[in-house]
Symmetry: C3
Subunit: 323 residues, 3 copies
């Protein structure tokens, strides 16, 4: 069959497809936000996090050098930007939420703007406390990791600190009832770090997540002070069969002060309490409470060594299999 | 030794190094694409995914508000961009592949352009079906996760949906034989989400990946409808010793409808079938088939509790070790 | 309470907050780099990695096509950029480190510039060797993965190769004593790939990381040639209680040539040696040495199957539970 080479590159007439897509959107409001007057913006939330990082850690992530002389102006610039972004996005989120029922109430909600302003003011009033907490986190990471060379290395490099920084902001907005934005923030940093902390989770001070990839911390987790968590730890729900029926219940564990949880440990259940000072070994599966101060490990399965090209299970005579 | 401070910053003469690098490239064609007339571009593939996300979910990720009046023009704009990108990259990929043997056949392959146009048309004809499937995925995520507050939260925030969205596009191209692009797409979203789905894997509708970091779904996996998968689940091959010898065989499991697979479970083998409605417990290692409807857990290793500063294995009297 | 709707959007007077933030910064030098004359820049390090990727793999990631005629100029351009970035950042890092004690010695350290120039020259002199090693890694990935279609697919798509590429550069700088930059580099690629390789780790040639998300390779790990590692493998320390006290000791395992380590395996301890040619099964927990050539698996816990709506533990008559 000779190819028609005259115009192989001509795109088809898009009109019929546009028609189908438009009709599909009309039939499925979940698929689109056409005609939405208010809607939060992922890009603006990203921008907000970036500005906040520079505001919280002056000089670390700024394109230009800061001096004591320029610090106040620099702070004012960033604060003005961050304030405008948060006010705008909180206002969008509040009005958007009212519009979810199709009533259009959000469009007229001037009270939403006042609430957005109050929430924004409230958030920035807590900024010095946020910085104080983050400093305890930086010190905890340095003290806990022999590979850390300086506090700067923690701030520049540790994904766990990035995740905690973003979480502490998201949690503040979450507890004040800001819709959607907190979860956007936590998933943006989840993408970066592989660490997922639901904005509902409550963290104490001096919290350290080492390595971090694969960590999952659920919505109703409560964590005390000076807790250390390693990679791939799950603090989760026992089962979520039934899905939405579970919303609002305490589904995730409580971790008291001074607990260490090693890599891959899975701790499940809303009534599970890991007592103060306990240590949870790597890859342990825990679904009930652990008393304070205790160390939990598991009976390791026997390892089976097979020498090269020998039948399975035959051990070399010089090897102790009780590994 | 006194330092020569006159010109510490002068770079060396690069000529000898350039010579070495150029010779090295000449000797190792695998290291470079110098002189390639056709080659897919990672940046253009990134651009394509971004445009497609806006096309599939109008209004969610657009910089400006959409209205019913502007929707058709907006759709036409994005469709024109996406079509041009996909046609261009498919054409590059097809011609590039023909040139891999050094014959230069790709340079003359006008039939490649026709094929690229056909494939591109075919892809966009399936766009309404892609959106229909994604809507089932959005609903499955909302229904399955008590932490989800709205469908919007799923579309804005869930990395699982991002991975499934990209996979459904990549799989369409993969099954039509487009070289390289599908795998580029899946690895780009793997970078973002920590979820790796090989473009060869076949997914049913209403697929939900919760949390997601560390999920690996292999090339020959087949997944039914309404399947739920949690973080760090591996659907993999039993062994790939021998590497390339295994190419093209069914190496990965089949998951039937309505299966739930909890976090960390590892299911291996091309003949392994997880029957309809089965539930696979967390951290289970499965290498044979499971009958429909069954729930699989494992005998948990006994946990060993050691009280503070007490000898290993001594338990507090008030604690039941059968945890 | 009637809302004051006159100016709900007016931000508050920022002056008091700026005052508090500035005082907080003054009281906590760990929180800021105000007045720092020298400091590495994360954005410049990102730029360096991007330029190096184009320099190492010509034509793969460049915006324009390369031809044999333009290759030398192209190489010179990229080399000039990469050299300037590395010299600048190494100089910043060396002077910054001297200033950490507040002495201001870094400000006067002209020897730092000479050292930065020497280190930079040294780094680029090793560039052909870096490319040679990376080519062995590319071949190892292709040979080891039946899903790989071509070397190009490995270079374009494999996160493991991205991580190894960045590590080999970072390790070179680390062994030459460059402060901070190597760790920045490894955490930047950790963010992208979910693969964490501390810049101190020593890798042999033909190293292959498949899938990769969740891999953690510690600071004092030593890995031989032709080693294969799958997703979520940890090569870590037995315990880091005591944190900074452990700095500088050999805390992580040694992996000899031709070892394969399957997904989820955890190998811990500075005296743990995995002998040449050994195979470590998936999800195995190893804390002592394994003799050469041996295969290690674990006694799998018995799986428990529960039929639909039947009491726990009751098995279907047609099912062999010795799964």
């Amino acid at each position: 069959m000779p190819a028609d080479t005259t115009s192989p590159q001509t795109p088809p007439d898009f009109a019929p497809l546009i028609q189908r897509l438009t009709e599909q959107s009309a039939a499925h409001p979940d698929l689109h936000h056409v005609g939405a007057t208010f809607l939060p913006s992922r890009n603006r939330v990203i921008e907000f996090i970036e500005v906040m990082r520079r505001l919280v850690f002056p000089g670390f992530f700024d394109p230009d050098r800061l001096t004591p002389d320029t610090l106040a102006d620099h702070t004012r610039d960033l604060l003005t930007q961050a304030d405008a972004l948060l006010y705008e996005q909180t206002r969008e989120a509040l009005r958007y939420k009212l519009n979810l029922d199709g009533s259009g109430k959000g469009d007229d909600c001037e009270a939403c703007d006042i609430q957005a302003r109050d929430l924004t003011n409230c958030f920035f009033n807590q900024l010095p406390e946020l910085r104080r907490l983050l400093l305890t986190d930086v010190h905890a990471a340095f003290d806990g990791d022999p590979a850390a060379q300086s506090y700067d290395e923690v701030i520049f490099c540790y994904p766990g600190l990035d995740a905690i920084f973003t979480h502490r902001m998201a949690h503040c907005l979450y507890t004040h009832g800001v819709p959607l934005l907190p979860r956007m923030m936590s998933e943006l940093i989840h993408n970066d770090t592989g660490i997922e902390i639901h904005p509902g989770a409550t963290l104490g001070e001096s919290f350290f997540i080492d390595h971090g990839t694969g960590v999952v911390i659920g919505e109703t987790v409560v964590i005390g002070d000076r807790v250390k968590v390693y990679q791939s730890v799950t603090l989760g729900a026992l089962s979520t069969k039934g899905g939405q029926d579970w919303r609002g219940t305490k589904r995730h564990p409580t971790i008291e002060d001074d607990v260490t949880i090693y890599g891959g440990a899975v701790i499940l259940g809303g009534e599970t309490v890991i007592g103060k000072g306990a240590t949870i070994g790597g890859n342990i599966f825990v679904t009930r409470s652990i008393p304070p101060g205790h160390t939990v490990t598991a009976e390791m399965p026997n390892l089976i060594l097979r020498p090269p090209k020998a039948p399975k299970g035959e051990l070399p005579t010089d090897f102790d299999p009780s590994i």
